[in-house]
């Protein structure tokens, strides 16, 4: 079944080798393509529908272009003439395009033409080739160093061990190093001290957490569905899969295949299925008014964009409506790529459901044990010993006798009118019962029933509340749990004559809702007869009259049944019968079996068929006292299984349908237009062609997600490795080698170090897609180890540090800001994985969440102190502290977070209870620190600095901290109540007998430390 693909090299014309490139040579991909792409391709590029004058400038195989350019002769070049023209009718780009070329760009075009106007295929579509690097040279340092030398720059010196320890810790595990680790690293004089430090971090279970953060952004992982109600869904086992995959160093090709098509792998494991949750991470809706076709189109689009961003670095979203304006991707490519995912079983409108059980190994074993226990009991229950058959025969006889007696004594009343005061439609069924077809407005109602009877001396009525499959929980009431509350019943005979009720009884009375309440004169909510806990079963209310009514002529009986308990606590189906028995009336001793079973009993045993007999026996077993104990054990065992299952993690996964949804080409992306061709799954034509096993006419060898996954993860794919390597580079240097990590297409950036990106991509693939090897390679370089301070010259020459003559410094990610504060305070709970958690959040932040309304309940205990990546990711209302520090809402795949520096960040660090509490707990630890022999206050300040920043404070820093301590100590001592209030923030307990002004003063010092720029900066 495996198909092989090769790469079609798009428009390769001439590849200039890196070494041959001199200072003066104009290189198409580096110098010219960005100019043309920016200014020309929109009208003279790949998009056929927008193309003007039939001129296409993105490929060379075009005689028109050859003529226009006049390569080698800039003076004769029409293209150049048009670009240089002053005539508004002639100049290109035309004035209405609002684009102008700079003098420098015009000069580049001239030189390019002069040098022969050589085209290149777009760099990222060419197979990466490993550039030559001298033996024993570190490739990264060699390739960077060579370019720096050309620019007259030299690399910066290596940073000190303290800085390196902190940098490596944030970059590789996302946590600050302990002062002890730093000291040991500084003291380690062995030649491989650095490598050993890196290895320790790579082996840490927190490495997977750190690596997961970026991956979860790019796959748009979140805990909620995204659209409209934005309700929760089960996906966290996927997040844990990602963490585990990085920790176990799962090869990246395998990681890729499992996520796109883990469910399609032969004999796929639970883990591989959980990985395929990737396909379910998109935004979905359960809005009633939404249109299925609309959302089907949105979901397809969402998935294609995801594949484009996550693996291909292609902005395929453009092709939803038209051929790409800058890259050779077409709209047909878009829909045929989308068709790969049309096999996934899912509701288009509606909640995606709970998903597959995803127990841990221990949980799976426990589940099996519970299930085995239930199976054993079931086998016992299913046995049919002779004594049981005897008992059944006796029971049948008893039921027959009782049914006979009841029929004799009770006469069902046929309602002539049956009405709901709220206007709900009411039906009278063949068995004379009344069925109420819908729930009433405001959830309460009064029924009025009239029936005529010729009985003489009626002593009472009975109302049978009957189950029905059409009712919630099968009734008999219309409340969600099948319950009802009959508040008050009034009976009249004829027009006016009230019939007094002397006594009421029932076969079942809910605690606090006795039968007698139906004639107590009270009819408000909370008062009446109810039967909670008996859903799906019949129950009977008996009303005994004070005086008999009915003279044997036609008597009209009118019943008014008031039901005033809100929430649809009204009867759904019921039957009224009358009796002339002597009082006191008796309730049936035993509730009769359902009509269906009674009918079987009334059938002669010899005439019952097998299924009837089986149903009868099954019912008998369910009621006979002989099996009561076994029934209880079995029910308990089944409940144990169900309860345990309900407690187990579940995860949405990909499940392939036999018949995939039909995918049509949507002209201009319009989902209402159904005129487009039916699309089969196919790889983007501009990137690949299938060399064998093409799908045949019948679509029998239709390509699957697994084919797509294998093509993406194939070494012949020029994009996958580059895209991942480029994103990883950003993690370690703050910016990718090509700046737009989500776009390696022609609108992306020509990489600063294309040879380096290629070297790393090839190294990555040849290592067997070994991610830890790649990480090790990058952080092992001298380039990585440089100081991040910039000389004024370097700041002028390369302000954004694209040339890498130094390291970059940047604020740590939103999650790490939190992790860092919790780690410094000592509050951090380092447990890996599990359901998402809810840190403190301002009250009312979710007030606008609706369908249903929700109240945010912050976690208590350990879950309050978990790492940031476990934070509950509510797409429409992401935790405000996360948002402030630039965490994306993950409605879209996000390869680049913004690293903004905004005032809200200051407000979060100052006032979010998480940080106030962390300061207080940090202060407790500061106070416990061993003051040594020196000044105890200075010693504690020193200790605090080392915990947070892994360095001692400078004298002036110590002096400032000391003055804070002294000022606040005095102020809190003068106002002990203020100290007490201040220390109340957060759930962490206060130490017994704490000196509160002292603790509050140190909390202020700790707050200052947590608010320092350096504390949240990776240098």
């Amino acid at each position: 079944m495996k198909k092989t693909f090769t790469w079609l090299l798009a428009g390769t014309v001439c590849l200039v080798s890196a070494a041959a490139r001199g200072q003066d040579e104009v290189v198409f991909n580096r110098d010219i393509r960005p100019i043309l792409s920016e200014n020309c391709f929109a009208c003279h590029g790949p998009d056929e529908n927008q193309r003007q004058a039939d001129l296409r400038l993105d490929i060379a195989e075009n005689p028109l272009v050859t003529d226009l350019i006049a390569s080698g002769n800039p003076d004769e070049s029409e293209l150049l003439a048009r670009v240089l023209s002053d005539d508004p009718d002639l100049v290109m780009p035309p004035p209405e395009a609002n684009k102008t070329l700079t003098a420098e760009q015009k000069e580049l075009l001239r030189r390019w033409i002069e040098q022969g106007a050589r085209y290149q295929g777009h760099w990222a579509y060419e197979q990466p080739v490993r550039p030559e690097v001298p033996a024993r040279e570190n490739a990264i340092d060699f390739l960077v160093g060579r370019r720096l030398a050309e620019r007259g720059l030299t690399p910066s010196p290596e940073a000190d061990r303290r800085t390196l320890a902190r940098r490596l810790s944030f970059d590789l595990i996302g946590l600050p190093p302990s002062p002890e680790d730093v000291d040991a690293f500084i003291a380690d004089e062995s030649p491989d001290a650095y490598e050993a430090f890196v290895e320790r971090l790579l082996a840490s279970p927190h490495y997977g957490e750190r690596m997961a953060i970026g991956w979860l952004d790019v796959v748009r992982y979140a805990d909620t569905i995204g659209y409209h109600s934005d309700t929760p869904r089960n996906v966290w086992p996927y997040r844990d899969y990602v963490i585990r995959a990085f920790n176990e160093n799962k090869p990246f090709d395998q990681f890729t295949i499992e996520q796109l098509a883990g469910d399609l792998l032969e004999g796929s494991t639970q883990e591989q299925k959980v990985a395929s949750c990737f396909n379910r991470l998109l935004l979905t809706t359960e809005e009633g008014g939404a249109q299925a076709k609309d959302y089907e189109a949105r979901m397809l689009t969402d998935r294609v964009r995801a594949v484009g961003t996550v693996w291909l670095g292609q902005t395929l979203g453009c092709c939803q409506c038209h051929d790409h304006k800058f890259d050779p991707a077409t709209a047909r490519d878009f829909y045929s790529l989308g068709a790969f995912f049309s096999d996934i079983s899912e509701p288009i409108i509606g909640h995606p459901g709970p998903g597959m059980l995803a127990p841990s190994e221990e949980q799976a074993a426990e589940l099996e044990r519970l299930q085995a226990n239930a199976r054993t009991l079931q086998v016992q229950y299913d046995r049919a010993p002779p004594e049981l058959a005897e008992a059944q025969a006796a029971w049948e006889a008893q039921v027959l006798a009782e049914a006979f007696a009841l029929k004799e004594q009770w006469t069902a009343l046929h309602p002539e009118t049956a009405e709901s005061a709220k206007g709900v439609t009411v039906q009278v069924l063949e068995d004379d019962s009344t069925f109420v077809t819908a729930s009433p407005a405001e959830g309460t109602d009064t029924y009025r029933i009239s029936a005529t009877t010729e009985l003489k001396g009626i002593t009472g009525l009975r109302i049978d509340a009957l189950p029905d499959d059409r009712l919630p929980s099968k009734g008999p009431g219309r409340a969600g749990n099948g319950n009802f509350v009959v508040s008050e019943i009034r009976v009249t005979s004829g027009e006016e004559d009230a019939v007094a009720i002397a006594r009421a009884a029932a076969t079942f009375e809910q605690n606090g809702f006795p039968a007698a309440a139906v004639f107590d004169g009270e009819s408000g909510a909370g008062n009446g007869w109810a039967v909670a806990g008996t859903a799906g079963r019949a129950n009977t209310l008996l009303l005994e009259f004070a005086e008999a009514v009915g003279d044997g002529e036609e008597t009209v009986l009118n019943l008014s049944i008031e039901q005033n308990h809100p929430g649809n606590h009204v009867l759904g189906r019921f039957r009224i019968s009358a009796t002339t028995q002597q009082t006191p009336l008796k309730l049936p001793q035993q509730t009769l079996p359902p009509a269906e079973i009674l009918a079987i009993i009334e059938t002669d045993a010899a005439e019952r068929d097998e299924s009837q007999q089986a149903r009868l026996t099954s019912h008998f077993k369910s009621v006979t006292p002989l099996l009561a104990e076994l029934r209880a054990s079995l029910a308990a065992a089944n409940k144990a299984v169900a309860d345990f299952e309900a407690s187990l993690p579940r995860c949405l996964v990909s499940v392939s349908m036999e018949t995939p949804r039909t995918v049509r080409f949507l002209p201009r992306g319009n989902w209402m237009d159904e005129s487009g061709d039916v699309m089969q799954p196919a790889l983007p034509e501009y990137l690949a062609r299938v060399t064998d096993s093409l799908p045949d006419e019948n679509g029998e060898s239709r390509l699957t997600r697994l084919d797509l996954a294998r093509w993406i993860a194939d070494e012949s794919n020029p994009l996958t490795a580059r895209v991942f390597v480029n994103r990883l580079w950003k993690q370690f240097f703050g910016v990718g080698l090509s700046k737009n990590t989500d776009d390696l297409g022609s609108q992306g950036e020509w990489p600063v170090y294309p040879e380096l990106l290629d070297w790393l991509a090839v190294e990555f693939m040849e290592s067997g897609w070994d991610v830890k090897h790649l990480v090790r390679t990058i952080v092992g370089s001298q380039t990585y180890r440089q100081v991040s301070t910039a000389s004024p010259e370097l700041l002028t020459e390369d302000p954004d540090n694209r040339l890498l003559a130094r390291q970059s410094r940047f604020r740590i990610d939103a999650e790490l800001v939190r992790d860092n504060a919790l780690a410094i305070s000592g509050l951090l709970v380092k447990r890996i994985g599990g359901p998402s958690v809810k840190p403190y959040q301002p009250a009312g932040y979710w007030e606008n969440l609706n369908f249903p309304q929700r109240t945010y309940q912050a976690d208590e205990g350990e879950n309050q102190y978990r790492r940031g990546l476990y934070t509950w990711w509510q797409r429409t209302f992401l935790h405000p502290s996360m948002l402030a520090f630039g965490a994306p809402s993950r409605e879209e795949c996000t390869a680049d977070r913004t690293n903004a520096n905004i005032p809200q960040q200051a407000l979060v660090l100052l006032n979010d209870p998480t940080y106030v509490e962390a300061s207080r707990v940090f202060a407790q630890r500061i106070m416990e620190a061993d003051p040594g022999n020196g000044d105890p206050i200075d010693a504690r300040i020193d200790w605090a600095w080392r915990e947070a920043l892994q360095r001692p404070p400078r004298d002036e820093e110590r002096a400032i901290a000391r003055s804070v301590y002294e000022k606040h100590r005095a102020e809190f001592a003068a106002e002990p109540e203020a100290a007490e209030q201040f220390l109340q923030v957060g759930l962490a307990p206060l130490p017994d007998g704490a000196d509160q002004p002292e603790l509050a003063a140190w909390t202020s010092v700790a707050r200052i430390v947590l608010n320092l720029h350096e504390t949240i900066t990776r240098l």
Binding site: G289, R298, T876, E891, E957, E971, S1004, N1011
Partner: protein, 489 residues
């Protein structure tokens, strides 16, 4: 956002600190930054930032925008768009030719056979301009001569969230920058103690309609997050995390912030890292918000006459009237755009009931805001826009015999908005729907046209305010939009 310019300013500021930082307290630092204009550097990410170079593109008529966004879609048929024929046809089926080939919400599905529903309240022509306003809105009616009605609005979306997103961001899906974010990005921020783009929300009393205010209604999309709207909440803490921890006095807070700044300055001197300077500025900005916002929300300096004008709800935080007065106070303090969103207009089955409450909650305060701005001379350069995401069907949703449950469904093919101040023609009624208010009959104004016009009033050419994202230049008006010249004063 010129990186070279940014960088030059970083260097300049670094030199400043290098030479003179010793002994400067933060207050002095802040005033230095402010005086020499360095705090205006957009790269500081602070509150007070200039706009893009070259913006505005031409002289603006309006400097500020107030969008009184009526979530849920007010019924144009019952409020503004008077059609005598609709009353004549009350109870008759909607003629086929009015809806052929059109899509309605899944609640209506196919409109065939739906019955026309006459306006519930009488209409009258108001003021000298003679604009039609129904009896539902007496206060709006009284200021009709100040308003410019556009009766030929139409949109592409039929459900709330996509349509609201479309009006505010130009795209139906979440993820594009909204109008306020574009304005902050393009024109910068004029205030140094408040954000440039403020948002408030309210819900009508006792409404049964469950509308959601999603964050993306005021999101910055792919623009940097500093441009997103800051939500002012109708509660004790109008801005998130604004309040100090309990027990922390104002003086202690000031001292603490000064100490943080002094410590950061030491590092700034060491490294000259512009990000540190930005961080120092941001703490100062945070402090200013902490001091200015409580004062902003303190209405004790308003006269009784002003309070009365806005109506009895004005002192109750979280109400529409309260938000309207807050809007004026924000505008006075230099906020560029206030987006005030009020939900509860989704009358699927409550045209004869909840619509009255809805109008009562909003009519007086909307009109008061326009008058208040006018009295203070602010209306001339403040553009006020009132309107929802679409209109409501001229035909009935519900049972014609059950008047208490009469409703109207979503209707994107014609609806009305009004504007005031900021360079629009007062007393103008522009565009027309057909004789049943079903479709636009004359001078159609698409959502993108409205957006282009709003930007034009602010001195912005909508085709030239763009941002490159995912390989494409995006703008508020997508690839459409024409300025409606006839609306301009």
């Amino acid at each position: 956002m010129n990186p070279l310019l940014d960088h030059a300013q970083h260097l300049a500021r670094r030199e400043l600190f290098g030479r003179a930082a010793t002994g400067i307290g933060t207050a002095a630092l802040a005033s230095l930054l402010a005086r020499d204009g360095l705090a205006d550097d957009s790269s500081t990410g602070g509150l007070k930032v200039p706009g893009l170079p070259g913006l505005p593109h031409f002289a603006p008529q309006a400097k500020r925008v107030i969008y009184l966004f009526q979530n849920g879609a007010p019924t144009h048929v019952d409020l503004f768009d008077y059609k005598p024929r609709l009353a004549e046809m009350h109870g008759q089926p909607v003629p086929d030719e009015y809806f052929a080939g059109k899509r309605f919400s899944t609640m209506t599905g196919d409109p065939t056979g739906k019955l026309m529903l006459a306006p519930v309240e009488p209409f009258a022509q108001r003021g000298e301009s003679g604009a039609w306003v129904s009896a539902f809105l007496p206060y709006t009616a009284a200021i009709a001569d100040d308003l410019c009605f556009v009766k030929s609005m139409h949109t592409d979306a039929v459900n709330h969230a996509p349509a609201i997103s479309f009006l505010l961001s130009g795209g139906q899906l979440p993820g594009r920058p909204t109008l306020g974010a574009w304005l902050s990005y393009g024109l910068g921020c004029e205030t140094d103690s408040l954000p440039s783009f403020a948002v408030m929300t309210s819900v009508s009393k006792g409404t049964t309609c469950g509308q959601i205010f999603y964050d993306f209604y005021w999101g910055s999309g792919f623009l940097p997050s500093k441009y997103q709207g800051v939500k002012f909440r109708g509660s004790a803490e109008p801005v998130l995390y604004l309040s100090d921890p309990p027990g922390m006095s104002r003086e202690m807070r000031r001292g603490l912030l000064d100490d943080v700044a002094r410590l950061n300055e030491i590092k700034l001197q060491d490294y000259g890292d512009p990000e540190i300077a930005t961080r120092i500025a941001q703490y100062e900005m945070a402090y200013r918000m902490q001091t200015s916002v409580p004062e902003l929300a303190d209405f004790s300096d308003e006269t009784q006459a002003t309070l009365d004008m806005y109506g009895p709800d004005v002192t109750e935080p979280g109400t529409y009237a309260y938000n309207c007065l807050m809007t004026r106070r924000l505008i006075e303090r230099g906020v560029r755009m206030v987006q005030l969103m009020h939900a509860g207009w989704d009358q699927h089955g409550s045209i004869t009931t909840e619509l009255y409450t809805q109008c009562k909650d909003t009519d007086q305060a909307s009109a008061a805001l326009v008058q208040d701005l006018k009295q203070r001379g602010l209306l001339d350069d403040t553009l006020v826009i009132w309107g929802g995401e679409f209109g409501r069907t001229p035909f009935l949703q519900g049972d014609i015999n059950d008047r208490p449950k009469w409703g109207r469904d979503h209707h994107p093919y014609a609806f009305t908005v009004w504007m005031a101040g900021g360079g629009v023609k007062p007393g103008l009624t522009y565009g027309e729907s057909d004789d049943l208010a079903m479709n636009v009959a004359k001078d159609p104004v698409h959502v993108h046209d409205l957006q282009a016009t709003i930007l034009h009033l602010l001195g912005i050419d909508h085709e030239r305010l763009t941002f490159k994202f995912q390989g494409r230049y995006f703008r508020l008006t997508d690839v459409h939009g024409e300025v409606v010249d006839e609306l301009l004063a």
